[in-house]
């Protein structure tokens, strides 16, 4: 890589960002869009029946479904937030580098 002395390599961070982007995208398209939405099976209430114990089962399933949806959305949100965080850190390192370089210039 560019500079072995550095403790922050923006190229490696970019690679990690790409990875997060593809994972988040896969979660959204392959799971959320494909299964939870667009008449996917995870958008349908299972035919638990009527009467009897079906109400409680439906209620439990609904809660399970909602929580799992939220948890998967949470992963997407986390990945998206990571990307933003990494971009910000990249910027701050770049700014620090620029400042350092300017200082070096002045010394020269």
């Amino acid at each position: 890589m560019a500079n072995q002395n550095r403790t922050f390599d923006p190229d490696a961070v970019d690679e990690f960002i790409s990875y997060l982007e593809s994972e988040a995208e896969a979660l959204k398209s392959k799971i959320i869009e494909h299964h939870f939405k667009n008449d996917g099976a995870l958008g349908r209430m299972p035919a638990f029946g009527v009467g009897g114990g079906s109400d409680r089962l439906r209620s439990d399933y609904t809660a399970f479904h909602a929580s799992t949806w939220a948890n998967l959305q949470g992963v997407v949100a986390a990945y998206t937030g990571f990307i933003e965080t990494l971009e910000a850190i990249k910027d701050s390192y770049a700014a620090a580098d620029a400042a350092g370089a300017a200082e070096l210039d002045q010394q020269m």
Binding site: D9, A47, V50, T62, Q73, A78, G81
Partner: protein, 524 residues
Amino acid sequence: MNQYGSEPPPGLENERGQRETTLLMTGTSTSDSAIRRDPCSNAECPNYDPAPMEAVWTEFMSPVAYGGQVIHKGPAPGTTQPDESRFEEIILALRPDGIGAHAVETIRKTWSAVVEDRLESMPGRLMSALAELSGFWVGEDFDRFAEEVEQVRDSLYDTIDEIDTAANELKVFEDRVRALQGSGAGVPFPAARVWKASSGVVQGPKIHVRPVWSSGGDCDKSRSEGDNWEALGLPRDSGDELRALVYERFGYYTERGMDGSAAWDQAVSDYSAVQLPLVGHWSTTMSAVAENHNLGIVDLRDQLVDAQEAPSLEAGPRPLPESAADAILEPLPELDPGPLPQMPPLDGLDRFTPPTQQAVPEFPSPRADWSAADYGSTGGYDGGNAADWDRSAMDSSSWNRPASDDLSGGLASGGLPSGGGLASGGFGGATGGSGGFGPPSGAGSQAGGMGGAFGATPGAAGNGRGGATARPANARPGSARPGGAGAPGARGAGSDEGEHDRETWLTEDSDVWGIVAEDDDPYA
């Protein structure tokens, strides 16, 4: 901190609203919102309301374990059942088109596929990528970032576990439902409830029949006598058979010198005792079979409720890493409830078939010297259950007349004054060609073949003696109607006895045979 798990899932509210609709439409439940049929117009009829079995069966059949399920009607011996077209109509209402997409198996397998194809590998990949990154980023910033990544990894593991657990729980539920609903081998359909309004047997049987989802607000009871017998699982011509026996008995007395009126009264009186076992036969067997059958369905439903109460579906809210706080989340889409079970269209009895005909207990031969007491004390058929609902159950020895030493005397006493045919096999003719007068099947031990079997093999018109069992052809005389002379008003006008508690049907007067006129049908 967590903005996902703490909100009430919007699906729940919708689901509740949906449920109320379901109850209204199916008449299922519990509540007064259910559709109820009117009770029978006869206040004594116990078939008050068919709604309970309708609700039970709706609950039993409404869960869909797997797609493409073909539902067959299971065997229900001894009960009135819908034919195929009616059965399918009811199934289609309870399982509307499109419900297969909501089969538990379909959805459960999708959850599993999401884990196997996507989620399972995510935590590992995430940690590999982080390990890679750690080679190029060192410091406190990285450590803080790595902690957040690990938090997401843990959340992924938890989510995977929760989905796996839920899928397993659903699989268990699915398997139980599949087994309870017959595993494709047939599901039992509720037996029509049957009630005999009067205690008389021959005289206007007045059978109330009420299958589930029957049309009209009342029991079906305006059918012919033959239909009524059939509803009891007895041969259509049972009444004729019994009448013929009395006629012949009457002839037996007159040939011994009794005057017509006394002979008739005695003949009627004799057989009046015999009818009691037949009533017992019906009430203990026929109604018990239907009742047991339906109780079996209630039990299946109860097991289904147990299955519905078993699954443990849980997913806890996950704390999100700090970095994620600003992320935009999609709102939870509403779960598609799918097509709801509908109330099946109501229909009459046309597409129901009566129970398979059963052998009827033997009645004592009209040409034997016997007294009513001999038969009144036999106790009749001692009940039975669905498993016994077969021919052999009817051959109870309790129907066999105690060996009598008078039989041969009776037969030897001379020809029939009525001029009735003695030819063996002639009995069928005596009963208007109804045929099916089977020979007694259980009377082998009795001298001279006591007791005529009563319709053991109905429907063999013209067959004279039926032929259920081998029996010497000469053991029982054929007979024709008693001669005209003595028959006292035997076919008088319809009785008005109606459904009042007549303990016997032959004791009172000669018009008990009366054919009930449609117009003043005492059914009520």
